[in-house]
């Protein structure tokens, strides 16, 4: 068995995939982080303090995980959904009653969407109350604000797609708020809906935004955001561990 494993991990094919040995020493533990695109978003080493559950509560990671779950369940739902006012509602009924695990897929997609809004807001609150927006993290905080707006946008555009009474009136009420903007309000609402009221054009636009525009923007910006955490020197907890507080210095 071990000679089999060895012949696999020594083979040219394996070595063309992975450019480092088994990560059980310091060199290879560095290499695994720097040569893997997913791990590359992380630093090679992190401070113990930043791993404490009560510092970050893992909320940013959980938001990322929810985004991934939404991508998977959303893709599965897309196999059964056509964004037409004629068929959308029937597609959802069909998904729930006829498709194996269809109801579960829809439930997971919906609850994950609500959870993501909640978790992102909690993450923002945690970042604020730990003062992690301060230099050098100003830019990443602003990227975060954009992520918050995009998360709300993703959830809102998805809300229309089942085309039931709940969707229709929620989007009618929601887009009315945009209509209150002075001068551009009515135009803004018209552009969003592709008309003066919620109809096929609105469904088409919300669908395109929901499955393409906003997820792409989110995927790009979330990657930037997490990579930037590393470029800013890891979580701010690190800094606090290294730099004593001002009054502690004064005491000394």
């Amino acid at each position: 068995m071990s000679s089999f494993i060895q012949s696999v991990t020594q083979s040219r094919v394996w070595k063309s995939f992975f450019r480092h040995g088994w990560p059980d020493d310091e060199l290879n533990r560095s290499l695994i982080m720097t040569t893997n695109i997913f791990f590359h978003l992380h630093p090679v080493k992190v401070s113990r303090r930043s791993l404490k559950a009560t510092y970050s509560f893992g909320l940013g990671i959980i938001a990322t995980i929810l985004f991934l779950i939404l991508t998977v369940t959303g893709t599965l739902i897309m196999f059964y959904y056509v964004p037409s006012t004629e068929s959308a509602y029937q597609n959802i009924v069909h998904l729930q009653t006829r498709v194996p695990y269809g109801q579960l897929m829809r439930n997971m997609h919906r609850w994950a969407a609500h959870a993501m809004v909640l978790v992102v807001v909690l993450h923002m609150a945690r970042v604020f109350y730990t003062g992690a927006y301060k230099p050098p993290r100003e830019f990443n905080w602003i990227v975060g604000v954009v992520l918050l707006v995009l998360t709300l946008g993703a959830s809102f555009t998805g809300y229309l797609l089942p085309w039931d009474q709940l969707s229709f009136w929620a989007i009618t009420v929601g887009t009315n708020i945009a209509g209150y903007a002075p001068l551009i309000g009515d135009d803004l609402r018209f552009i969003l809906l592709g008309g003066v009221e919620v109809g096929q054009n609105a469904l088409t636009r919300f669908y395109a935004l929901h499955i393409m525009v906003i997820p792409l923007a989110l995927a790009g910006l979330v990657s930037l955001h997490i990579w930037r955490v590393r470029k800013d020197g890891g979580l701010a907890a690190q800094q606090a561990a290294e730099e004593p507080l001002r009054f502690e210095q004064e005491d000394a």
Partner: protein, 257 residues
């Protein structure tokens, strides 16, 4: 000439085997190097610890979500019908704070100006509070947690009182009739009151910038939470206030999630 090394002439020029320069110590300067006055670095390799923690979060989040999804179905009402208005007609829960605010003042204030100011505040915040000596520390200062606690308490009480006052009495009940007072001046005064009272109070303790931001952010966040809960949970038919468990017509606010 340099000895034969098998290198290209350029390489030999730049990384000469026998450099012709000598180096000596010219001056001592006081400065910060990465490790000056720092404790031993308390770091560990990201692999495998961080990878494992992320795996645990992935499994945990998925598990909770699957279990919840087995217990509760996503809502689906009748086919959309533009001719039948639902009562109440509500936006998704995360916009119910805005919709609640709209009940109390001019739509320009509630729908555009206030949310716009909040976004603006969030964007400029890291350029207002730039002292990084307390970054990465929960609540920053020793009195931070206490201030956040009392600001939250104050905001919840004040915001709830304002909502109930507007529902039961309102400026109209006090004799105001002009739309300008009802829709703009009145709400603005209440806004000044909401932020002004704690500001006047904490000013006496000479807050740092971080503490000012703690108070300001907490008023905004707690207000948003109270408005959202009020709009989502306590507004029933006609957008009037009811107890969530006792809505007329069997309306259940939770069914619109």
């Amino acid at each position: 000439m340099t000895p034969q090394t098998g290198n290209s002439p350029e390489q030999d020029q730049r990384f000469a085997r026998t450099p012709m320069k000598t180096y000596s110590l010219m001056e001592l300067v006081r400065g910060v190097s990465p490790m000056v006055e720092k404790g031993p670095d308390d770091t560990i390799f990201s692999f495998p610890m961080v990878a494992l923690l992320e795996l645990i979060l992935l499994i945990g989040t998925t598990l909770v979500l699957v279990i919840f999804s087995l217990l509760r179905d996503a809502p689906l009402e009748e086919l959309a019908n533009p001719d039948v208005v639902t009562n109440p007609a509500k936006a998704p829960w995360y916009f119910m704070g805005l919709q609640e605010l709209l009940l109390h003042m001019h739509p320009l204030l509630a729908g555009i100006i206030f949310p716009g100011l909040v976004i603006l505040f969030l964007i400029i915040l890291p350029y207002i509070d730039v002292d990084k000596s307390d970054a990465g520390r929960w609540f920053g200062t020793a009195r931070g947690p206490k201030w956040v606690f009392f600001t939250t308490l104050y905001t919840v009480v004040m915001q709830t009182a304002l909502i109930i006052f507007d529902e039961e009495v309102g400026l109209r009940g006090l004799g105001a009739a002009s739309p300008l007072i009802l829709q703009v001046i009145g709400p603005l005064l209440f806004g000044v009151l909401l932020f002004g009272l704690p500001a006047l109070f904490v000013r006496r303790y000479h807050p740092t910038r971080r503490e000012w931001m703690l108070v300001l952010f907490t008023i905004i966040l707690a207000s948003a939470v109270v408005l959202t809960i009020s709009g989502f949970l306590f507004r029933g038919p006609g957008m009037h206030l009811y107890a969530p468990w006792n809505m007329p017509g069997g309306y259940n606010p939770w069914s619109s999630l």
